[in-house]
Amino acid sequence: MKTSDLSNLLRKLTTPPGLSGYEDTIAREVESLWKPLVDELSRNRLGSVLGFRQGSGEPPRPRLMMVAHQDAIGLMVSGIKEGFLRLTEIGGVDHRILPGQLVQIHGKRTLPAVVVQPPPFLLPPEAQEGSVPLNYLWADTGLEEKEVRRWVQIGAPVSFARNFLELGSDLVCSPSLDNRASLCALTLCLQELQGRKHAWDVWAVSSTQEEETLGGAATSAFQIRPDLAVVIDVTHGSGPGSPSHKSYPLGRGITLGWGATVHPKLYETFKELAEKMEIPYRMEAMPRYSGTDADRLQTVAEGIPTMVISIPLRYMHTPVEIVSKKDVQRTARLLAEFATTLEIDFMDKIQWDETPKA
């Protein structure tokens, strides 16, 4: 894929706000992109998009689930006072980035607005110094109270204004690249699978509500009952403010998760594959949990061997998230290669070392 086409795809995927729970816009975009790439398309009851590609192996075929979450973080209107909007968060937002932030209020009509910080003398004493807590900030639509009440209701989602930037030849910047960058990689992977054979059934899942409950991937997995799952998400990119031992440089490869969440044999398989394909990667140590859909997905039903692949991203959960297009493409290639090289008896090969002989 040409790099300009890739930029367009990323732009397409970052345009819908799709805040957790309010994901119809992004789900529809995913559906239109995936429609030509899968055999069947459906929606899970909670709103995840499920794309199914039938494998070429003899039935009953094992099932691979590859999942990237579609939802984005943002804000929500929690009160209306004299035409000003009080806000609460959806997902995790650092309130210190909010003053001056351009947003869109998704009421009965979508209204542009700006988040503002009142001057200290209009704040209660405990909020006058230091950062101003979210519930003392306002969103101002510039409209009169009557107009505001006409179009906006408590519960209206509030997304960051869309602003897609290309920085240099490889980097792109936009709100919601967490996790639309991964969704883009998953879409590219489905494109690569066109015309290639895979023995396993492949389920691509665009999951709902990761930022709130990790619920979309887990409920989809309960429905699909995959034999293996691969979660694609973003990780912290190196850059100002990121400790070097906890972040990964942009454009220089992806990370492969390692820790209690990840099945060690699955890690080995991905590691060998990445090395064979000369895809640069680093091990990302996840000592306690992965912070992704994998944490809940792994313990669905009788347990699912799970892998976590991450794309480095700078300034996570801000409207100026940055990723490298090269890393997105690498992720897609790795996923496609994994799916197509999965042998029908792969499950026999990822047994634990101590497995008793039958």
């Binding site: 929500m76 959806i90 209701q153 309960f222």
Partner: protein, 333 residues
């Protein structure tokens, strides 16, 4: 409905020990349902059959917050921990009643350095004993706040309004139920206050197509209270979100439209803390669209929780209407 509510709130049933209230509910609803059972954790499930209709799970929790004894000292003072979200500020000077009928008062260790409310570990229950031997309380015994029902006319006050008012709404709904667009599972759940545990297993067993919890929510209408918009007396609240879940937008719309059509007052609720049984339903199995009808309630988790009877009545009306209105979801089984 006041009498129903009064009887319910005066029963002692802390999380994990709900049998007294369960027995009372069973007695009332037995003639009204097609089938009734108690599951392994103690949830009461009552079924109102409707052939070929989608299955809805309605849940209100039976349990209330309470205390469990951890130690009785040589002088007969009993130390305790909370079952559910008991706040220290509500304990000082409080009275408690144990399941075996013993009553006592909560005392506080003196802390000369400050007048701040100490944590529960610095408190004890005095049942009037003078030694461990003559103390009628043993480690593991459980208690609830002792506070009689108070009728203030339109508004009523009691302990355990959270969530006996939800239980009352379900029972009253069942009593008035004529026809329904759903097969209804009335679930009276256990152990909500300690982490929506009962509803988790109940939802797994019921496998509903959609679920609604009936529970209380906080209000913002008291002096320097919570910064939220819900008020007492302005109608039942349709939950948009709380700390545990985002209610399903399709169900929110269904409830809002139904309320508007029937001219039932309602409010839109955003609660920045807390959670309800609906969160367990939402993530059950392959996922279940879930929402909440909340009864606005002042002083939640204090021994004197206040609700407005008009809100309660309107919640029953709204729920009754909803049960006659096919939901907007595609609910193939």
């Amino acid at each position: 409905m006041k009498e129903l509510l009064k009887t319910l709130v005066e029963i002692s049933a802390p999380s994990g020990y709900e049998s007294q209230v369960r027995n009372q509910i069973q007695e009332w609803i037995r003639p009204l349902v097609d089938e009734m059972r108690v599951d392994a954790l103690g949830n009461l499930l009552a079924v109102h059959r409707q052939a070929d209709a989608p299955r809805i799970m309605l849940v209100a929790h039976m349990d209330e917050i309470g205390l469990m004894i951890t130690h009785v000292d040589r002088q007969g003072f009993a130390r305790f921990v909370s079952l559910g979200g008991v706040m220290p500020i509500h304990c000082v000077g409080g009275r408690v009643r144990f399941l075996n009928g013993v009553q006592g008062v909560i005392g506080v260790e003196k802390n000369p350095a400050s007048y701040e409310i100490p944590p529960l570990e610095k408190m004890f229950i005095d049942v009037g004993a003078s030694s461990a031997e003559d103390c009628p309380i043993r480690i593991g015994d459980v208690a609830v706040f002792e506070r009689p029902f108070l009728d203030l006319g339109k508004r009523v006050v009691a302990k355990a309004m959270d969530d006996r008012v939800g239980v009352a709404v379900l029972i009253e709904t069942l009593r008035r139920l004529e026809k329904s667009a759903f097969e209804i599972y009335f679930v009276f759940s256990v152990q909500e206050e300690v982490g929506v545990r009962g509803a988790t297993v109940a939802a797994f067993g019921v496998e509903p197509h959609l679920g609604l919890a009936i529970d209380v929510t906080a209000t913002g209408d008291t002096p320097k209270g919570h910064r939220m918009e819900v008020q007492l007396g302005k109608g039942p609240a349709i939950k948009i979100r709380d700390a545990g879940m985002l209610a399903d937008p399709r169900l929110i719309q269904w409830m809002v439209q139904t309320a508007e059509k029937a001219k039932i007052p309602y409010q839109r609720e955003i609660l920045e803390f807390g959670g309800t049984d609906a969160r367990a339903i939402q993530l059950s199995r392959s996922g279940v669209p879930a929402g909440v009808i909340s009864i606005p309630c002042r002083y939640v988790h204090a021994p004197s929780e206040m609700v407005d009877m008009e809100d309660v009545e309107n919640a029953v009306k709204l729920l009754g209407r909803l049960l006659q209105t096919p939901s907007p979801l595609e609910l193939s089984s």
